[in-house]
């Protein structure tokens, strides 16, 4: 037997404890309470090293217990029952001055008012949960052990359970004990599951890992698994404290404190030690190592209960019970971190317990009670005794009561002991090495944990991919929006800065070309609209190219509604520098009233970008959406507004009057003959007008009786030369050149901006006469010739080009006239104010024009009078009159400079 020496320091000496009673020492903070079996309980202060108080009871005290909150002490008196004394009242420091050192300890007489439970038979007791908790007493009465529960606050009896006495040999043994100076009484302890909060709210009990001493020696925590295995799921679920009772007959019983009356036998016998139990406790490692419940019998049997792997077919944990033996008798025990300290009366020994420092024993070695076979316990015990290490002697003799231990910061363990002679001693133990266990995850949970983790990973992964795709789509949307915004800015800046930017410099521009096509023997006019993307941005999907065709003027009956037509073409992808050409049917010949306005715009739909839900939310917000002009989720960007007029719709046939073409059966013979007649007439008319009267310049539109109408416009040659970039007259070329280029300009310029030559006969290029077919299949003759305008007498002569339109259709003439005028207007706008006008010529013209306007206004008044006064003038007459007025209005004598 290895021996180490403990340092013994005697603090005080009291009288010899009376034999036959168990001496009791309680160490609580600074105070040590000593009960030696007399009617006095002594309070010794470890700081001042002197007795501070003596509690005098009415009869001998045979047992005492500290309450869980350490605020009161319960003493069992032989003849009365249980007394409860509050400890703080024992320290009336303030009334006694500190100078008053010399007098002895204060004497407190405990009266019967402090009686907590009047029960003479109480052998042992324990208090759970402090003053709000429960007091449990055990008494032997009528051949049964009675467990009685009292309310700790008012000592009201709550309930009672009984367990019949089984051991007949008890009395014999107790006599033996009596001879040895010991009285056996039940040992009580209170066990909490260590994941459960203790019932009391006292701060001392919250310390974890709990040391058995820290809970007053009687209250301790057990690891949850062992707790569940020993006391069942039900007790664990409601965190019921369990009362463990070691009876003198060797039975280890448990009693749930909170569990409602599950079956009559609340008191369960866990195990039978077959010898009086002197100690119940736990050993706890410094770390959360395996923890075991320890019970020590009087004759040296030690039972360890701990968790252990179950049998191979179960795979779960079971509570395993290991029995060992040390040499007895065991007089008193206290539990340390690493094991037990016990006194045999002749020596104090320290016993290291397996399971704290070592791994749990193999299941086949231990007695696995979960299996229920209790085969040969003696055998098991013998076999198990090897698992207990041999105790280490500490060389302190005659210890009959132990308290503590306390571990101070430097790891020194101290105990308080009472010797047989009544000496109060402090024992300082030699330092031992402490090895902590490694916390491990139980195997049974590993699979579950892995599955949990995998599931969690799966979840995270899923979420991440969802987020990723959301981010991607948002990015996509943002990129698109960026593009859209860029395009918007580009176009809106364009718009805001006015129309100054020439068409060719617009980043996104479009132009329109009207083309005749022939399909199924019907001529139709198609509009080819070309969008040029010279911006650095790609026009992608969701963009729509919209073309709106709106007649400038339209017949009244249909005027109520908008007769416009809108065509939209979604983009696939238009790279920078690309162009998109769309073809839209304008009309079958003659259906549409020209000129028409073609507005081109770009649309962008937010819906396809954001989705309908988000869009509706955006729109519902109102303000930002309306700020953006997003009604309906569309961004609309106007591009260009172009005009397609009669000129554009002309089909140039050549410089000579068209002849009958046998390949064109669709043209009726009527039309053909008309053309011939027209051609003939027109030549005459031209000649006629060429001879003209003195009116000279200006514009005229003459209708012959044969139905050939004409209109003319005069533009100064100088102007044309300047704007069209023609060479001056003197340099070269005939005058034909000016006329030809004017015609060419008229037929090519404008909407299309395309080469005129593509549209007609090559020969027409140089000639000053062009024949063409217009809408309604009328042949039109366009003539350009140089004239001089002005009064020769005043020497103010201007050279001008007269453009004449001749056609049998009044509408065509009007339309063409309008078209030519608007072209010239556009021309003038470009050159406005660059030249000084010769006022003389214009002045003359103006005068004439005014006169004519006056006359015409009179005519108009006259024509309208009959209608106004309701006279029955035939509509034919009115129309005629109005028509003639209109014709005269057209004859503008002014020369355009």
């Amino acid at each position: 037997m290895e021996a180490r020496c403990a340092v013994v320091e005697t603090w005080a000496e009291f009288g010899c404890p009376s034999p036959g009673t168990a001496a009791n020492v309680i160490w609580s903070g600074e105070d040590v309470l000593i009960c030696t079996g007399s009617d006095e309980v002594l309070v010794f202060n470890t700081q001042e090293l002197k007795l501070t108080a003596v509690l005098q009871f009415l009869s001998p005290v045979c047992h005492m217990v500290l309450s869980e909150d350490k605020q009161s002490v319960y003493a069992v008196c032989e003849s009365d029952g249980v007394y409860c004394v509050s400890l703080p009242t024992l320290h009336p420091r303030s009334p006694t001055p500190p100078a008053d050192q010399s007098p002895g300890p204060a004497l407190f007489k405990v009266s019967s008012n402090s009686l907590a439970a009047r029960d003479k038979g109480v052998c042992s007791l324990i208090e759970v949960g402090g003053s709000g908790g429960t007091l449990v007493t055990v008494s032997l009465r009528d051949a049964a052990w009675w467990f009685t529960l009292y309310k700790a606050a008012d000592h009201q009896k709550l309930t009672q359970f009984s367990l019949p006495v089984v051991s007949v040999g008890h009395h014999v043994e107790s006599e033996e004990n009596g001879a040895a100076g010991l009285v056996m009484r039940p040992v009580l302890a209170c066990v909490y599951s260590s994941d459960a909060p203790p019932l009391s709210s006292s701060s001392t009990t919250t310390k974890l890992p709990p040391l058995s001493s820290s809970l007053g020696g009687k209250h301790f925590f057990l690891e949850p698994l062992l707790f569940k295995l020993l006391f069942g799921v039900d007790a664990a679920l409601i965190n019921s404290p369990m009362i463990l009772c070691g009876l003198p007959d060797g039975r280890l019983c448990s009693l749930p404190l909170l569990l409602p009356g599950r079956s009559g036998s609340c008191v369960r016998v866990l195990h039978s030690m077959e010898q009086p139990i002197t100690f119940i406790g736990t050993t706890t490692g410094t770390n959360d190592g395996p923890q075991c419940l320890v019970a020590v019998g009087q004759w040296g049997r030690v039972v360890l209960v701990r968790t252990c792997e179950g049998g191979p077919e179960e795979g779960s944990k079971v509570a395993a019970l290991t029995e060992g033996c040390v040499s007895g008798p065991v007089v008193c025990v206290c539990a340390g971190r690493e094991g037990l300290y016990y006194s045999t009366g002749s020596d104090l020994l320290a016993l290291d317990l397996p399971g704290v420092r070592e791994a749990a024993p193999k299941p086949e070695e231990s007695l696995v009670v979960g299996h229920g076979e209790r085969q040969g316990q003696g055998q098991a015990m013998v076999r198990e005794s090897a698992t207990l290490q041999s105790p280490v002697s500490l060389n302190v003799c005659r210890v009959i009561a132990l308290a503590g231990p306390s571990h101070n910061a430097s790891g020194i363990v101290q105990l308080v002991a009472l010797s047989l002679r009544g000496r109060l001693q402090r024992l300082t133990l030699p330092k031992g090495t402490e090895v902590g266990g490694i916390p491990r995850l139980p195997l049974s949970q590993v699979g579950q944990r892995v599955r949990d983790l995998l599931a969690a990973i799966g979840d995270v992964c899923e979420r991440a991919s969802v987020l990723k795709s959301t981010i991607q789509s948002k990015n996509h949307s943002l990129r698109h929006l960026n593009q859209v915004l860029n395009v918007c800015c580009l176009l809106l800046a364009n718009q805001n800065s006015g129309e100054q930017l020439p068409v060719s410099k617009k980043p996104i521009r479009c132009h329109v070309v009207a083309k005749w096509s022939r399909l199924l023997q019907r001529d139709s006019l198609n509009l080819t609209c070309v969008l040029d993307n010279s911006s650095p941005y790609v026009l992608e999907r969701n963009w729509t190219f919209c073309v709106r065709v709106l007649p400038l003027s339209y017949p009244l009956p249909a005027g109520g509604e908008n007769t416009s037509q809108t065509f939209s073409f979604p983009f696939q992808k238009l790279e920078p520098g690309g162009r998109m050409e769309v073809l839209l049917p304008l009309t079958a010949a003659g259906d549409t009233s020209f000129p028409v306005t073609v507005s081109c715009s770009l649309f962008y739909s937010l819906q396809s970008l954001l989705g309908s839900e988000e869009l509706s939310r955006l729109l519902a917000n109102g303000e930002p959406a309306s700020c953006l002009g997003l009604e309906g989720g569309w961004v609309s960007l106007p591009l260009d507004t172009l005009t397609v007029d009669w000129l554009d719709a002309l089909q140039v046939t050549g410089t000579t009057p068209p002849h009958r073409d046998p390949n064109r059966p669709s043209i009726s013979p009527d039309t053909v003959s008309m053309d011939i007649v027209e051609a003939f007439l027109s030549t005459r008319r031209i000649r006629g007008s060429g001879r003209g009267d003195g009116e000279g310049g200006g514009e005229r539109m003459v209708a012959s009786d044969g139905g050939l109408f004409s209109a003319s416009i005069k533009v100064s040659t100088e102007l044309l030369r300047g704007t069209l970039g023609l060479e001056p007259p003197g340099s070269a070329g005939p005058s034909q050149g000016v006329c030809g280029s004017v015609l060419g300009w008229l037929l090519s310029q404008g909407t299309g901006g395309e080469d005129w030559s593509g549209r007609g006969d090559k020969r027409g290029q140089e000639s000053s006469v062009v024949y063409a077919r217009c809408l309604g299949r009328h042949t039109v003759k366009l003539t350009a010739k140089e004239v001089t305008v002005g009064d020769t007498s005043v020497k103010e002569v201007k050279e001008a080009v007269e453009v004449q339109v001749q056609c049998s259709s009044m509408a065509a003439v009007c339309g063409l006239h309008h078209a030519v005028l608007s072209r010239v207007q556009a021309l003038l706008q470009g050159t406005a104010g660059t030249r000084e006008s010769s006022m003389g010529v214009q002045g003359l013209g103006l005068r004439q024009a005014l006169q004519r306007a006056q006359v015409l206004s009179e005519h108009l008044q006259e024509a309208r009078i009959p209608e106004a006064i309701g006279l029955g003038m035939t509509t034919g007459q009115t129309t005629k009159t109005l028509f003639s007025i209109y014709r005269q209005l057209r004859e503008n004598p002014l020369l355009i400079l």
Binding site: G129, L237, K317, S444, R451, D459
Partner: protein, 612 residues
């Protein structure tokens, strides 16, 4: 000498006796002027004093002149002993004194057999008019002793004598003795007799009832009882009558008796409890719930404050100690009443109230206040994990899935470490040997742990499917299934399955069905089909699984099979026994719902077109 001293002694003893009796009576009349503690001390003092007196009296030889006094003192003394529950001492005193008296009048020592003994006593002493009264007093006392030690046989045998007591006691009063000072009695024998009579009726009725002789018990109980008897005893008679009636198949008459009992004594909770049982038998759920509510509130009332004075010398409780009576009149603990109330509420509509009761129950279990009611009756509460699960499922039914999840978590975390890797069950399970010391470890809880944990997972999965989190639902259903697969049942040709195994199968069926339904919502139709089919194999009673299987077959385009299956489910009566199935294993009420009418219409249309 003796001639002189005898009357003197007689008077002194009489005075002493009267002093003790007066002191006690004064205390009793003073009421609350003294504490209970003081009363008990006084009683003890009286007991000691009267015994001292008796010792003095019996210290001298018995002479006929002393007999009356002695017997009266014995009467008082025995009553005091009775109050100190010293029954054997009292009986010994009684017989000893009577033997002395018999010796004094010159009779032989009577045999110990009580009926014969009393026949003899009455014959020899009762014939003397002066002694008759005090002899009968002692007979009363002996009656009380028999009753409190549950020796009903003696009472039965001496029925005639006991019945004639009333005349004898009345007669004794009239024939007043010569002595001026009459020895006082502690309790008037006539009062004692009345009390004993009714207690005897109750005791006999209870005994007969316990033996199953209901009609005889009824005749005993319906004997006329004095209306002056204590209310609680009358109420007990009514209750016992009701019990007889309900056991002989007359529940409505029984109800009337219970009502009478309650009218007589409001605190007769037993009648209330019995009427609950009758309501349950009659299937009147609403009334049962109301009665349960009432019973619970009565049980939760603070106990009637005990009177400050000491209890009466003879209280009915000490006269009726019988086990049979207390078992008949037992009332479940407030917690189990609360539990049945909660369960009934959840099962019959008022879920939210039921949930509240469950939560109250759980709170009460966690607190230690329940200890204050020391009820020691057989357990009627289920195991705590089952209680948690029931509460959880009722929370889910009340649309509180988060709370349900938390409760189930608690069950899972508690049982997690105890789950076995594998569990082999052999059918029939071997019964554990009774009386053997309790096993450490779980014992037969091993299956229980698996079932609780599995059911907790199942409930959690139900919660998730209620929240439409199908992925989590599938995970938890899978956990439940994996857990249940660890249990292997080995059948040994036993047809009747034990409850545990039945629960296991039902759990399996529900979990598979639940997972199948979740798979349907995740659009994994094949897995869903497989699970639903497995579910129906595991537990054929799962109604929703059949419907969903039809639906899944239909969605998979296997309409022929769907229709066939539909017809099969419709034809077979699916009313399988859900009796005894725990609350948490009923079909979930809140899960994903199937448009049944739509399914029916579709399938039936299909069937019709196929037929035509």
């Amino acid at each position: 000498m003796s001639h002189v001293t005898a009357p003197c002694l007689l008077d002194r003893w009489t005075e002493e006796n009267n002093a003790v009796v007066d002191k006690w009576k004064q205390h009793r009349d003073r009421g609350d002027a003294v504490t209970r503690e003081q009363g008990l001390t006084l009683l003890k003092w009286c007991y000691v004093e009267s015994h001292k007196l008796l010792q003095k009296i019996q210290g001298v030889l018995a002479v006929p002149a002393h007999i009356q006094l002695e017997l009266t003192v014995v009467y008082n003394c025995c009553l005091f002993s009775f109050s100190q529950t010293q029954l054997t001492e009292a009986e010994h005193l009684l017989t000893h004194s009577l033997e002395r008296a018999l010796g004094a009048v010159g009779c032989d020592r009577p045999p110990p057999n009580p009926p014969v003994f009393w026949c003899m006593v009455l014959k020899s002493l009762g014939s003397t008019p002066s002694l008759r009264s005090c002899t009968l007093q002692l007979l009363c006392l002996h009656w009380a002793l028999w009753l409190s030690t549950w020796r009903l046989g003696h009472i039965q045998e001496l029925q005639e004598e006991l019945r004639s007591l009333s005349e004898g006691l009345g007669a004794g009063e009239v024939t007043v003795e010569r002595s001026a000072v009459r020895p006082a009695v502690l309790v008037h024998p006539r009062d004692l007799k009345d009390l004993l009579l009714i207690c005897t009726v109750i005791a006999q009725g209870a005994e007969l009832l316990c033996e199953g002789r209901c009609s005889e018990a009824l005749t005993v109980l319906q004997r006329d009882s004095s209306p002056l008897a204590p209310r609680e005893l009358l109420a007990q008679i009514h209750t016992l009558t009701g019990l007889c009636l309900s056991r002989t198949g007359r529940p409505h008459s029984a109800m009337q008796c219970y009502r009478k009992a309650l009218e007589t004594d409001v605190r007769c909770v037993c009648a209330l409890h019995q009427s609950i049982l009758v309501y349950r038998q009659l299937g009147n759920t609403q009334a049962e719930i109301q009665a349960l509510r009432l019973l619970h509130s009565v049980l939760m009332m603070p106990p009637a404050t005990q009177p400050a004075v000491a209890p009466p010398i003879i209280c009915p409780a000490s006269l009726l100690p019988g086990q049979s009576l207390s078992s008949l009149l037992s009332v479940p603990s407030p917690l189990s009443v609360l539990h049945s109330l909660a369960q009934k509420c959840v099962l019959h509509g008022s879920v939210s109230e039921g949930v509240e009761h469950y939560l109250d129950l759980l709170a009460a279990l966690q607190s230690d206040h329940q200890l204050s009611q020391g009820f020691s009756e057989p357990p009627s509460l289920p195991r705590l994990p089952e209680l948690y699960l029931e509460a959880g499922s009722s929370l889910l039914t009340a649309q509180r899935p988060a709370d349900c999840l938390a409760l189930c978590d608690e069950v899972i975390s508690t049982t997690l470490e105890l789950l076995p890797e594998r569990l082999l069950l052999e059918e029939p399970m071997e019964a554990s040997v009774p009386g053997s010391p309790d096993k450490l470890g779980l014992g037969q809880d091993r299956l229980g742990v698996v079932l609780w944990s599995g059911a907790a997972y199942l409930l959690q999965a139900h919660c998730y499917s209620h929240l439409k989190d199908w992925k989590q639902a599938v995970t938890h259903y899978t956990r439940c299934i994996n857990l249940l697969m660890k249990v292997c049942v080995k059948q040994k040709g036993c047809v009747k399955l034990e409850l545990g195994v039945r629960t296991l199968q039902r759990l399996k069926g529900l979990a598979l069905a639940g997972r199948g339904i979740s798979f349907t919502h995740r659009d994994q139709k094949r897995e869903s089909l497989r699970d639903l089919q497995l579910s129906l194999q595991a537990a054929p009673g799962c109604a929703s699984a059949g419907l969903w299987l039809t639906e899944v077959l239909w969605r998979l385009g296997r309409r022929q099979e769907a229709a066939a299956f539909w017809e099969k489910t419709q034809s077979s009566s699916t009313a399988s026994s859900l009796e005894g199935v725990p609350l948490y294993l009923l079909d979930p009420q809140t899960g994903p719902s199937l448009d049944l009418t739509d399914l029916r219409r579709r399938v039936e249309e299909f069937i019709n077109t196929r037929h035509s």
